[in-house]
């Protein structure tokens, strides 16, 4: 039985980790970290856990935790994981960081977009970007896994095959993304109140959202050249779900069949990426509560652009589910252990 500790277990991503790990046959959570709720029963913070989780919230002591567990998940704001991690800790436990601290290889890019000094740049090279479908083998050997962002997971899985195969010009890529509100976290902020979000929609972080360089970096690895894109996130009145609509110029003459063949090549053997049938547009509800990503595309011959679409549950494949998938790789479990939930509809 692998022992797991969660730092930041009372955020939405943290609580989703708890939900998923409760159904994982080889893992036991032994530490529910939460600075805000130390000594409070976890089930009082998340009452869905009543009579399921009996533990009390602990503080965020990574050193102590390293002695007690085999894997630490950090589901905390940017900066915390980097400020806590050190060689001694890494010698004892695996770390799966759900924050952005180890996602970007270039510390300058991190500090520019996150407006934070990076406290552990020495581990940037070593950390593995935990997009399982891309870096599966490297993840297995990692000490630090940088769990990808929600928007980035959806954006990359939706567009990467065509970038990698040279079917689209990556510098024409425009990603228009829409997210449910759980992505904004459980902080008590006015813009996230029900009455402000319900019956409303807006773009935010236009041209400045931090997931932009993460997408660019990963796509640049796929095509071996620098990539600069437009990325615009939007807030949608729903709890869960990210939908990505991506636009790019298609290599002239490329057919539907060729594009479909590329998607199949990359994803036919991937359980969690479903390439939909022709003509079907991904819908967030069809993946809700599950680790699936649904992708599809449509070519517009009038403009010679391709419209690529992807949908996932931001708390599962976009956060906690992918973290569990990474953990499964790290510990040699079946990759879908604890992740076999059928999407819940309606």
């Amino acid at each position: 039985m692998v022992k797991a500790g969660i730092i930041g277990s009372t955020g939405y991503a943290g609580s989703e980790l708890v939900r998923l790990l409760m159904g994982h046959k080889d893992v036991e959570i032994v530490w529910y970290g939460s600075r805000s709720y130390i000594d409070k029963k976890y089930a009082e913070v998340y009452r869905n856990m009543f009579e399921i989780v009996d533990a009390v919230c602990m503080d965020d002591n990574m050193e102590e935790l390293a002695d007690q567990v085999d894997v630490i998940f950090t589901a905390t704001p940017q900066g915390l994981c980097a400020s806590l991690v050190n060689e001694e800790i890494l010698s004892k436990v695996k770390i799966i960081d759900l924050s952005a601290d180890f996602r970007l290889k270039d510390v300058k890019v991190y500090e520019e977009w996150y407006k934070l000094e990076h406290k552990a740049p020495q581990y940037l090279d070593e950390a593995v970007y935990g997009l399982c479908e891309v870096n599966r083998e490297d993840v297995k050997k990692a000490r630090i896994v940088a769990n990808p962002g929600c928007y980035t997971t959806c954006s990359i899985l939706t567009t990467r095959p065509l970038v990698a195969e040279g079917l689209i010009d990556p510098n024409t890529l425009i990603i228009d993304a829409k997210s449910g509100t759980s992505g904004a976290g459980r902080g008590a902020k006015l813009p996230n109140l029900f009455c402000e979000v319900n019956e409303n929609m807006k773009a935010y972080g236009v041209a400045t959202h931090r997931h932009t360089p993460e997408i660019e970096e990963q796509l640049s690895y796929a095509c071996h050249k620098p990539v600069t894109i437009n990325f615009t996130p939007h807030l949608v009145p729903m709890n869960r779900g990210i939908l990505v609509t991506a636009y790019a110029s298609l290599k002239p003459g490329t057919t539907d069949e060729e594009v479909r063949a590329v998607y199949k090549k990359y994803y036919d053997h991937e359980k969690f990426v479903r390439v939909l049938d022709e003509g079907e547009c991904p819908e967030t509800k069809w993946v809700e509560g599950s680790n699936y990503v649904d992708v599809n595309f449509k070519i517009d011959p009038r403009t010679n652009r391709i419209i690529m679409m992807g949908a996932l549950d931001n708390l599962v494949k976009g956060a906690a589910g992918q973290a569990v998938q990474n953990m499964n790789l790290l510990f040699g479990f079946d990759e879908d252990e604890g992740l076999r939930q059928v999407p819940m509809f309606p």
Copy 2:
């Protein structure tokens, strides 16, 4: 491996059965019945099942089905199950009927409230009312299980201990129930359109809703005398969830502790009924996607009434989950097999 067939697999309750049974280690669905979608791929009707269910919808032939499966679930409108069932079928398979056909023992009451002639009244006596927490032992031996209604499950589990123990006067009972919209089914009807339901709330079926006699009959068994109640359902702009707020006159002098002790007596050993801590009001979101029912109460000393509250997911404990629980009893599986989902929040 128990083989299961579902008649009416493309309604919301039917599809929820599919979702739950896909995660049940001892059951295999071999027949996806659906009159409306014969020969259509199930995953085209419910695209969450893409790459999960590969089957094609079949018609509703119960006789043929009886030769192929061990258990038949009927998730169909009232009247169908009663019109199909016969002795030969019952000699071969177990039937779990999610409709109301076998819930009421008195055929006259059925025909009066449902405005339907009952086609198989000879099985009314034999059929077992499948509220597992009440009739567990009888369910185990049944041929026909009448799976309770969604509102009734919530109403009965919330109020029955106090009725049974004589702490409330059952004829003062007023049940004000609120339901998400999935309870209205997947029929394409104007009142169920998004724009008609969203940002709206209403009562319906006032003083005439068909779950009324079902609640009355079950509560009358608990207190050994006739019970007549008021029951008012309401439609709420959410997908899933039923909340019951029930009011009754409390036996004079009854204390909080006595009431709590009664709830504990009935439910302490019941996995799926959670008696919340003092002061906590059940919320539908805390049980979403799971088979739990959360109950609690508050005494109002000013009026000497007690307010009892209960919450469940209408598609799980209120329909498909309870059907699986009944199946587990019928076949001797762990009662919670396939039903260990942690409620999903948010």
Copy 3:
């Protein structure tokens, strides 16, 4: 042109007052009070007002305000209005208080339910309870109008005719009320976050909600004896709207026609109270954005109880709209001036 000042103009009720008064031909808002946003442009706090309201938020100085305006609306938390008002102010302006400070005649009841010391009990007798349909003539002559609560307006208008005419026993009255989330205000609190409210429903303040004594007091005036009721509010995932479902024992032998005749007697001449046709249940969406209250009823002959139903928009007839209606009475305008909005659907 009547000059109006609003203390607490940046809450949801305050902003609804602004919306309604902008469409009132005889009123001009000259003071947008808001402790939280002093010196900030009002249109930056409520961006629907961009290019409509050009003013800047002011503090809550009631004395200074009294010199500049003819009427002051206080849309603030309990206690503030009572702490500010004095004889000099009342000699200069009319006050319409949207808080509960002057709604209850008995200072002990106020202090018990609100856990606050009342700072101006000397005005309790004089203040007029501003339920226009009940106290129209008194409102016209008032200096202080106590604008009724949202739940209370709906509860009283729905039940009062039958209480007044002795058709129901008021001490059997049980009011189960459901409200949209704007009733909880614009404070940044975790329970009001989108993800906590959406797809969720719960009761709250069970047996302790402060609108209880207000309903009881007003109904006791109607039947000339003390009234004690049960009142349970619920939170519903919608922005606006209150639905009341009320239950009471009906005077034996009372017919549908008699009940309808009583409702007609009280409301046939009331523009803002609509008695729906037989069989129609009020829906909150059908009154949204307007000052209407829709009411109807159903007799249950099985239990000899009557179910009364009412729906209104909590921010309009439940708060700002009624405040404008009171202002119209105070200043001799047409009672529906500024309140002729057709309900918005969908």
Copy 4:
């Protein structure tokens, strides 16, 4: 008093016309046309109109209507208006067509995108495209006004100034649009059920939506050359509101100030188009229920693209409100008569 008739008064756009015209001081609706509800009381179809509209639904007889009214609104599916209109009718009344029949000048484009034979192509040249901010003077003299589509109104008003002034390359334009569900109409279709739409999001009509050629045609007039764009609509779980996010390559060297100056040049004198302050992103809720369009932009220097954003209420400025605005122009009323509603928040 201008007399108005509405053909198709029981769709969502038709009912919004009724709501708006009830508040218009110079217009009286004398004909509520509705094929589906002939002889039914209008207030039974839209119960918000109870005690407000007393009329009964009539059939769609345009010839008879032409004798009784001054202006006919057709809020019907494509094809109907073109099939009914003739010279005699046009000699008697003004027609404001909310369908697409007269929006596209080229009959071949219409027939290709709408898969319909056009029954009155002889009026295509004469009909005026009723985007008031663009064609104000022509509308005043028109006999047939082609009321623009909801997506198109938002898309054109958001992008047209920069197209017209040559600041963006129109053939790089990508419009990603999101709409509330009322745009899908009041037909009882499965995909529009509450449980299918709620907590869900999807693209639809990708690369084939009929508003595409309408946007292209209007933008081509603005820049005097053919324009081909990408347009992708999405369905969002809210009742009302359209949000447009548009991307295009910016003329090298263009500054924020230059872009803002262009928007101001076009819209400073336009009541219904609000250019938001720098950094503010349009939100659909801030215009709900009103005739406003909010627009703004952000330049991304990294890609040298500009992101333009616009928001409107699809039933008001996107349909009925714009129709009333056109009517005001036709009859010489104040352009904002009947359209002074302050947006409703929340």
